[in-house]
Protein backbone atom coordinates (compact mmCIF):
# COMPACT_ATOMS: atom_id res chain seq x y z
CA UNK A 1 0.00 0.00 0.00
CA UNK A 2 1.01 3.63 -0.38
CA UNK A 3 1.30 6.05 2.51
CA UNK A 4 1.93 9.79 2.23
CA UNK A 5 3.31 11.89 5.03
CA UNK A 6 5.63 14.79 5.71
CA UNK A 7 9.18 13.89 6.63
CA UNK A 8 10.87 16.98 8.07
CA UNK A 9 8.33 19.09 6.19
CA UNK A 10 8.95 17.40 2.87
CA UNK A 11 6.06 15.38 1.46
CA UNK A 12 7.01 11.77 0.83
CA UNK A 13 5.14 8.86 -0.61
CA UNK A 14 6.28 5.37 0.31
CA UNK A 15 5.21 1.95 -0.73
CA UNK A 16 4.87 -0.18 2.39
CA UNK A 17 3.52 -3.45 3.70
CA UNK A 18 0.32 -3.02 5.74
CA UNK A 19 1.92 -4.39 8.93
CA UNK A 20 5.12 -2.41 8.66
CA UNK A 21 6.44 -0.21 11.45
CA UNK A 22 7.92 3.24 10.91
CA UNK A 23 11.54 2.54 11.92
CA UNK A 24 11.76 -0.14 9.28
CA UNK A 25 10.18 2.05 6.61
CA UNK A 26 12.47 4.99 7.26
CA UNK A 27 15.66 2.95 7.46
CA UNK A 28 14.77 1.22 4.23
CA UNK A 29 14.45 4.65 2.67
CA UNK A 30 17.89 5.66 3.85
CA UNK A 31 17.08 7.49 7.08
CA UNK A 32 19.87 5.74 8.98
CA UNK A 33 19.84 8.19 11.86
CA UNK A 34 17.02 6.08 13.32
CA UNK A 35 18.64 3.53 15.61
CA UNK A 36 16.81 0.36 16.51
CA UNK A 37 18.00 -0.99 19.84
CA UNK A 38 15.30 -3.44 20.84
CA UNK A 39 12.55 -3.28 18.24
CA UNK A 40 9.99 -3.88 20.99
CA UNK A 41 9.18 -0.44 22.40
CA UNK A 42 11.35 -0.67 25.47
CA UNK A 43 14.68 1.12 24.81
CA UNK A 44 13.69 4.39 23.14
CA UNK A 45 16.67 4.58 20.74
CA UNK A 46 14.36 4.85 17.74
CA UNK A 47 12.41 7.82 19.11
CA UNK A 48 11.25 10.49 16.66
CA UNK A 49 8.51 13.07 16.65
CA UNK A 50 5.07 12.59 15.16
CA UNK A 51 3.08 15.81 15.12
CA UNK A 52 5.73 17.10 17.51
CA UNK A 53 5.27 14.30 20.03
CA UNK A 54 8.06 11.84 20.80
CA UNK A 55 7.21 8.24 19.91
CA UNK A 56 9.18 5.07 19.42
CA UNK A 57 9.26 4.52 15.68
CA UNK A 58 9.71 0.75 16.06
CA UNK A 59 6.18 0.61 17.41
CA UNK A 60 4.17 3.01 15.27
CA UNK A 61 2.50 1.43 12.26
CA UNK A 62 3.57 3.33 9.16
CA UNK A 63 0.13 2.93 7.64
CA UNK A 64 -1.36 4.96 10.49
CA UNK A 65 0.63 8.06 9.51
CA UNK A 66 -1.24 9.22 6.45
CA UNK A 67 -0.92 13.00 6.28
CA UNK A 68 1.08 13.29 9.51
CA UNK A 69 4.23 15.33 10.16
CA UNK A 70 7.29 13.34 11.17
CA UNK A 71 10.45 14.91 12.49
CA UNK A 72 13.75 13.07 12.62
CA UNK A 73 17.03 14.50 13.87
CA UNK A 74 17.68 15.77 10.34
CA UNK A 75 14.85 18.21 11.01
CA UNK A 76 16.36 19.66 14.18
CA UNK A 77 20.05 19.94 13.29
CA UNK A 78 20.76 23.18 15.12
CA UNK A 79 19.00 22.12 18.29
CA UNK A 80 20.81 18.76 18.16
CA UNK A 81 24.10 20.66 18.01
CA UNK A 82 23.10 22.68 21.07
CA UNK A 83 22.07 19.55 22.97
CA UNK A 84 25.36 17.92 22.00
CA UNK A 85 27.25 20.86 23.46
CA UNK A 86 25.51 20.39 26.80
CA UNK A 87 26.10 16.63 26.68
CA UNK A 88 29.79 17.18 25.96
CA UNK A 89 30.16 19.62 28.79
CA UNK A 90 28.72 17.12 31.26
CA UNK A 91 30.55 14.08 29.90
CA UNK A 92 27.20 12.56 28.99
CA UNK A 93 28.07 11.26 25.54
CA UNK A 94 29.66 7.93 24.95
CA UNK A 95 28.73 5.32 22.34
CA UNK A 96 26.05 7.57 20.90
CA UNK A 97 23.60 4.87 19.88
CA UNK A 98 20.93 6.39 22.13
CA UNK A 99 21.88 10.02 21.44
CA UNK A 100 19.65 10.74 18.47
CA UNK A 101 16.62 9.45 20.34
CA UNK A 102 17.63 11.62 23.27
CA UNK A 103 18.07 14.68 21.07
CA UNK A 104 14.49 14.34 19.86
CA UNK A 105 12.95 13.62 23.23
CA UNK A 106 14.83 16.49 24.88
CA UNK A 107 13.88 18.85 22.07
CA UNK A 108 10.23 17.90 22.56
CA UNK A 109 10.52 18.28 26.33
CA UNK A 110 11.73 21.84 25.94
CA UNK A 111 8.79 22.68 23.73
CA UNK A 112 6.25 21.08 26.04
CA UNK A 113 7.44 22.41 29.40
CA UNK A 114 8.51 25.85 30.55
CA UNK A 115 10.26 24.99 33.80
CA UNK A 116 9.96 21.27 34.35
CA UNK A 117 10.77 19.77 37.74
CA UNK A 118 13.33 16.95 37.99
CA UNK A 119 10.43 14.55 38.32
CA UNK A 120 8.79 15.84 35.16
CA UNK A 121 12.06 15.54 33.27
CA UNK A 122 12.54 11.99 34.54
CA UNK A 123 9.00 11.00 33.62
CA UNK A 124 9.61 12.39 30.15
CA UNK A 125 12.96 10.79 29.34
CA UNK A 126 12.81 7.56 31.32
CA UNK A 127 11.77 5.61 28.24
CA UNK A 128 15.15 6.30 26.67
CA UNK A 129 17.70 3.83 27.96
CA UNK A 130 21.42 4.51 28.06
CA UNK A 131 23.86 1.80 29.13
CA UNK A 132 27.08 3.83 28.89
CA UNK A 133 26.69 6.95 30.97
CA UNK A 134 26.03 7.49 34.65
CA UNK A 135 22.61 8.96 33.67
CA UNK A 136 23.06 11.81 36.14
CA UNK A 137 25.10 13.62 33.49
CA UNK A 138 22.07 13.51 31.18
CA UNK A 139 20.01 15.31 33.79
CA UNK A 140 22.63 18.03 34.17
CA UNK A 141 22.98 18.41 30.40
CA UNK A 142 19.21 18.58 29.90
CA UNK A 143 18.83 21.27 32.55
CA UNK A 144 21.54 23.29 30.90
CA UNK A 145 19.87 22.99 27.51
CA UNK A 146 16.49 23.96 28.97
CA UNK A 147 18.02 27.16 30.32
CA UNK A 148 19.27 28.23 26.89
CA UNK A 149 17.24 30.91 25.14
Amino acid sequence: MIVNFYLNNVEVSYSIKPGEYLAETLRRHGVKSIKVGCNESSCGSCTLLIEGKPMMSCSVLTASLEGKHITTVEGIQEEAAKISKCFSKQGADQCGFCNVGFALVIYALKREYKNPTDEEINNYIVGNLCRCSGLQSHMKAIKEYLKEE
Binding site: P18, K53, C58
Partner: protein, 264 residues
Amino acid sequence: MKVNEYYRASSLEDAYRKLQEDPKNQIIAGGLWIKKIGQDCNALVDLSTLGLNKISETKDEVIVGSMVTQRDFENSNVIRSLFNDSLAFSVREIMGVNFRNIATIGGSIIGRYPFSDVITGLLPYDVSLEFYPEQKMSLEDYLSYKGKINAILVAIHIKKGSGKGFYKKVKTTALDFPIINFGIAKVNGEYRIAVGARPLTGALAHKAMDYLNSQSKLDQESYKKAAEIAAEELMLLDNKDASKEYRTDLVKVYVRRGLEEVSK
Protein backbone atom coordinates in the same frame (compact mmCIF):
# COMPACT_ATOMS: atom_id res chain seq x y z
CA MET B 1 4.06 -10.45 11.80
CA LYS B 2 2.16 -10.80 8.55
CA VAL B 3 -0.72 -8.44 7.80
CA ASN B 4 -2.72 -8.44 4.59
CA GLU B 5 -4.63 -5.20 4.89
CA TYR B 6 -4.66 -1.91 6.77
CA TYR B 7 -8.24 -0.72 7.05
CA ARG B 8 -9.13 2.83 8.08
CA ALA B 9 -12.67 2.58 9.42
CA SER B 10 -15.03 5.38 8.42
CA SER B 11 -17.44 4.81 11.30
CA LEU B 12 -17.96 2.52 14.25
CA GLU B 13 -20.48 0.61 12.21
CA ASP B 14 -17.94 0.21 9.43
CA ALA B 15 -15.27 -0.93 11.89
CA TYR B 16 -17.65 -3.43 13.47
CA ARG B 17 -18.67 -4.81 10.08
CA LYS B 18 -15.02 -5.25 9.13
CA LEU B 19 -14.33 -7.02 12.37
CA GLN B 20 -17.14 -9.54 11.71
CA GLU B 21 -15.80 -10.38 8.25
CA ASP B 22 -12.91 -12.48 9.47
CA PRO B 23 -11.92 -13.74 12.91
CA LYS B 24 -8.38 -12.77 11.99
CA ASN B 25 -9.29 -9.11 11.63
CA GLN B 26 -8.21 -7.03 14.55
CA ILE B 27 -8.72 -3.56 15.97
CA ILE B 28 -5.52 -1.65 16.51
CA ALA B 29 -5.43 0.82 19.31
CA GLY B 30 -1.90 2.18 19.59
CA GLY B 31 -0.40 -0.82 17.85
CA LEU B 32 2.05 -1.67 20.62
CA TRP B 33 0.61 -4.94 21.82
CA ILE B 34 0.00 -6.22 18.31
CA LYS B 35 3.72 -5.82 17.71
CA LYS B 36 4.62 -7.48 20.99
CA ILE B 37 2.47 -10.52 20.18
CA GLY B 38 3.65 -10.56 16.56
CA GLN B 39 0.72 -12.72 15.47
CA ASP B 40 -0.24 -12.80 11.83
CA CYS B 41 -3.61 -11.25 11.06
CA ASN B 42 -5.75 -10.49 8.07
CA ALA B 43 -6.82 -6.87 8.46
CA LEU B 44 -5.82 -4.27 11.01
CA VAL B 45 -8.74 -1.96 11.69
CA ASP B 46 -7.78 1.62 12.49
CA LEU B 47 -10.20 3.71 14.57
CA SER B 48 -8.09 6.84 14.66
CA THR B 49 -10.33 8.97 12.48
CA LEU B 50 -13.51 8.32 14.49
CA GLY B 51 -13.04 11.04 17.08
CA LEU B 52 -12.47 8.61 19.93
CA ASN B 53 -9.44 10.54 21.13
CA LYS B 54 -11.29 13.11 23.23
CA ILE B 55 -11.93 13.58 26.93
CA SER B 56 -15.22 15.26 27.83
CA GLU B 57 -17.23 15.78 30.97
CA THR B 58 -20.79 16.12 32.15
CA LYS B 59 -21.99 17.14 35.57
CA ASP B 60 -21.67 13.59 36.88
CA GLU B 61 -18.98 11.93 34.87
CA VAL B 62 -15.85 12.17 32.80
CA ILE B 63 -15.91 10.39 29.48
CA VAL B 64 -12.62 9.22 28.06
CA GLY B 65 -12.58 8.09 24.43
CA SER B 66 -10.95 4.70 24.00
CA MET B 67 -8.34 6.12 21.58
CA VAL B 68 -7.12 8.77 24.04
CA THR B 69 -3.42 8.16 24.52
CA GLN B 70 -2.01 7.50 27.95
CA ARG B 71 -0.08 10.73 27.58
CA ASP B 72 -3.16 12.82 26.82
CA PHE B 73 -4.95 11.12 29.70
CA GLU B 74 -2.26 11.96 32.27
CA ASN B 75 -2.01 15.54 30.99
CA SER B 76 -5.75 16.20 30.94
CA ASN B 77 -6.80 18.83 33.45
CA VAL B 78 -10.14 17.10 33.79
CA ILE B 79 -8.47 13.84 34.74
CA ARG B 80 -5.95 15.53 36.99
CA SER B 81 -8.67 17.27 38.94
CA LEU B 82 -10.23 13.92 39.86
CA PHE B 83 -9.34 12.35 43.22
CA ASN B 84 -6.20 14.38 43.85
CA ASP B 85 -4.53 13.39 40.58
CA SER B 86 -4.27 9.71 41.46
CA LEU B 87 -5.72 8.52 38.13
CA ALA B 88 -3.14 10.40 36.15
CA PHE B 89 -0.49 9.17 38.54
CA SER B 90 -1.16 5.52 37.75
CA VAL B 91 -0.57 6.21 34.07
CA ARG B 92 2.40 8.49 34.50
CA GLU B 93 4.53 5.61 35.77
CA ILE B 94 4.14 3.55 32.62
CA MET B 95 7.38 3.48 30.60
CA GLY B 96 8.46 6.80 29.04
CA VAL B 97 6.60 9.53 27.24
CA ASN B 98 7.60 8.06 23.85
CA PHE B 99 5.59 4.97 24.83
CA ARG B 100 2.66 6.77 26.42
CA ASN B 101 2.21 8.90 23.30
CA ILE B 102 1.44 5.68 21.42
CA ALA B 103 -0.44 3.57 23.97
CA THR B 104 -4.16 4.23 24.33
CA ILE B 105 -6.38 3.97 27.37
CA GLY B 106 -8.77 1.66 25.50
CA GLY B 107 -5.92 -0.62 24.47
CA SER B 108 -4.70 -0.74 28.04
CA ILE B 109 -8.10 -1.94 29.30
CA ILE B 110 -9.44 -4.17 26.57
CA GLY B 111 -6.70 -6.80 26.85
CA ARG B 112 -7.28 -7.17 30.63
CA TYR B 113 -3.54 -7.45 31.07
CA PRO B 114 -2.59 -8.71 34.51
CA PHE B 115 0.20 -6.14 34.76
CA SER B 116 -2.01 -3.21 33.79
CA ASP B 117 -1.43 0.00 35.70
CA VAL B 118 -4.45 1.58 34.04
CA ILE B 119 -6.87 -1.10 35.22
CA THR B 120 -5.69 -1.13 38.83
CA GLY B 121 -5.64 2.67 38.78
CA LEU B 122 -9.26 2.90 37.59
CA LEU B 123 -10.73 -0.02 39.49
CA PRO B 124 -11.34 1.71 42.83
CA TYR B 125 -13.60 4.26 41.14
CA ASP B 126 -17.03 3.96 39.63
CA VAL B 127 -15.94 3.21 36.08
CA SER B 128 -17.99 1.75 33.26
CA LEU B 129 -17.13 0.80 29.72
CA GLU B 130 -19.17 1.77 26.70
CA PHE B 131 -19.09 -0.57 23.71
CA TYR B 132 -20.34 -0.61 20.16
CA PRO B 133 -22.83 -2.18 19.41
CA GLU B 134 -24.41 -0.44 22.33
CA GLN B 135 -23.57 -2.10 25.58
CA LYS B 136 -22.40 -0.81 28.93
CA MET B 137 -20.57 -2.74 31.58
CA SER B 138 -18.77 -1.84 34.75
CA LEU B 139 -15.00 -2.21 34.63
CA GLU B 140 -15.16 -4.83 37.33
CA ASP B 141 -17.73 -6.86 35.40
CA TYR B 142 -15.65 -6.63 32.28
CA LEU B 143 -12.65 -8.01 34.11
CA SER B 144 -14.59 -11.08 35.15
CA TYR B 145 -16.47 -11.42 31.82
CA LYS B 146 -15.88 -14.89 30.41
CA GLY B 147 -14.45 -15.02 26.91
CA LYS B 148 -13.66 -12.34 24.38
CA ILE B 149 -16.22 -9.59 24.00
CA ASN B 150 -17.52 -9.18 20.46
CA ALA B 151 -17.76 -5.41 20.51
CA ILE B 152 -15.62 -2.32 20.15
CA LEU B 153 -14.65 -0.36 23.24
CA VAL B 154 -15.75 3.21 22.59
CA ALA B 155 -15.34 5.09 25.84
CA ILE B 156 -14.59 4.85 29.51
CA HIS B 157 -17.01 6.61 31.87
CA ILE B 158 -15.61 7.70 35.21
CA LYS B 159 -18.14 8.86 37.77
CA LYS B 160 -17.20 12.03 39.60
CA GLY B 161 -17.13 12.13 43.34
CA SER B 162 -15.39 13.72 46.25
CA GLY B 163 -12.51 12.01 47.89
CA LYS B 164 -8.95 10.94 47.61
CA GLY B 165 -7.08 8.27 45.74
CA PHE B 166 -3.81 6.44 46.18
CA TYR B 167 -1.83 4.53 43.62
CA LYS B 168 1.30 2.46 44.18
CA LYS B 169 3.27 0.37 41.75
CA VAL B 170 5.91 -1.89 43.25
CA LYS B 171 8.57 -2.42 40.63
CA THR B 172 12.22 -3.21 40.05
CA THR B 173 13.02 -0.25 37.82
CA ALA B 174 10.90 2.42 36.17
CA LEU B 175 10.57 0.35 32.99
CA ASP B 176 9.33 -2.70 34.81
CA PHE B 177 5.83 -4.07 34.82
CA PRO B 178 4.49 -3.92 38.36
CA ILE B 179 5.45 -6.76 40.69
CA ILE B 180 2.14 -5.86 42.29
CA ASN B 181 0.08 -2.66 42.21
CA PHE B 182 -2.50 -0.96 44.37
CA GLY B 183 -5.35 1.41 43.66
CA ILE B 184 -7.06 2.61 46.79
CA ALA B 185 -9.66 5.30 47.17
CA LYS B 186 -12.15 6.87 49.51
CA VAL B 187 -14.91 8.33 47.37
CA ASN B 188 -18.01 9.89 48.89
CA GLY B 189 -17.02 8.28 52.18
CA GLU B 190 -16.74 4.78 50.74
CA TYR B 191 -13.49 2.84 50.72
CA ARG B 192 -12.41 0.89 47.65
CA ILE B 193 -9.33 -1.32 47.38
CA ALA B 194 -7.93 -2.75 44.15
CA VAL B 195 -4.87 -4.93 43.78
CA GLY B 196 -3.35 -5.93 40.44
CA ALA B 197 -0.41 -7.94 39.13
CA ARG B 198 -1.11 -10.47 41.86
CA PRO B 199 0.17 -11.70 39.29
CA LEU B 200 -3.48 -12.08 38.21
CA THR B 201 -5.44 -9.16 36.78
CA GLY B 202 -6.57 -6.36 39.06
CA ALA B 203 -9.41 -7.16 41.43
CA LEU B 204 -11.30 -5.46 44.23
CA ALA B 205 -10.87 -6.66 47.80
CA HIS B 206 -14.59 -6.76 48.62
CA LYS B 207 -14.36 -8.30 52.07
CA ALA B 208 -11.83 -5.74 53.19
CA MET B 209 -13.96 -2.97 51.68
CA ASP B 210 -17.11 -4.29 53.38
CA TYR B 211 -15.28 -4.45 56.66
CA LEU B 212 -14.16 -0.83 56.42
CA ASN B 213 -17.44 0.50 55.11
CA SER B 214 -19.38 -1.16 57.93
CA GLN B 215 -17.26 0.27 60.74
CA SER B 216 -18.59 3.32 62.52
CA LYS B 217 -15.19 4.47 63.64
CA LEU B 218 -11.88 3.86 61.87
CA ASP B 219 -8.37 4.03 63.19
CA GLN B 220 -4.90 2.65 62.45
CA GLU B 221 -5.95 -0.76 63.72
CA SER B 222 -8.88 -0.95 61.31
CA TYR B 223 -6.65 -0.12 58.34
CA LYS B 224 -4.28 -2.85 59.46
CA LYS B 225 -7.14 -5.29 59.84
CA ALA B 226 -8.53 -4.39 56.40
CA ALA B 227 -5.10 -4.94 54.87
CA GLU B 228 -4.95 -8.37 56.47
CA ILE B 229 -8.41 -9.24 55.19
CA ALA B 230 -7.38 -8.13 51.70
CA ALA B 231 -4.24 -10.29 51.86
CA GLU B 232 -6.43 -13.20 52.89
CA GLU B 233 -9.21 -12.85 50.34
CA LEU B 234 -7.28 -11.98 47.19
CA MET B 235 -5.65 -14.75 45.27
CA LEU B 236 -1.92 -14.07 45.33
CA LEU B 237 0.52 -16.30 43.49
CA ASP B 238 4.21 -16.94 42.84
CA ASN B 239 5.77 -16.01 39.57
CA LYS B 240 9.24 -15.11 38.40
CA ASP B 241 8.90 -11.53 39.67
CA ALA B 242 7.98 -12.30 43.28
CA SER B 243 6.84 -15.05 45.60
CA LYS B 244 3.34 -15.37 46.98
CA GLU B 245 4.77 -14.69 50.41
CA TYR B 246 6.34 -11.39 49.37
CA ARG B 247 3.16 -10.30 47.60
CA THR B 248 1.20 -11.07 50.74
CA ASP B 249 3.58 -8.94 52.79
CA LEU B 250 3.26 -6.10 50.29
CA VAL B 251 -0.54 -6.23 50.35
CA LYS B 252 -0.50 -5.93 54.14
CA VAL B 253 1.79 -2.90 54.02
CA TYR B 254 0.51 -0.98 51.02
CA VAL B 255 -3.20 -1.49 51.59
CA ARG B 256 -2.72 -0.14 55.11
CA ARG B 257 -0.61 2.77 53.88
CA GLY B 258 -3.05 3.53 51.09
CA LEU B 259 -5.98 3.58 53.48
CA GLU B 260 -4.08 5.88 55.81
CA GLU B 261 -3.26 8.14 52.90
CA VAL B 262 -6.80 8.43 51.53
CA SER B 263 -8.20 8.96 55.03
CA LYS B 264 -6.03 11.97 55.72
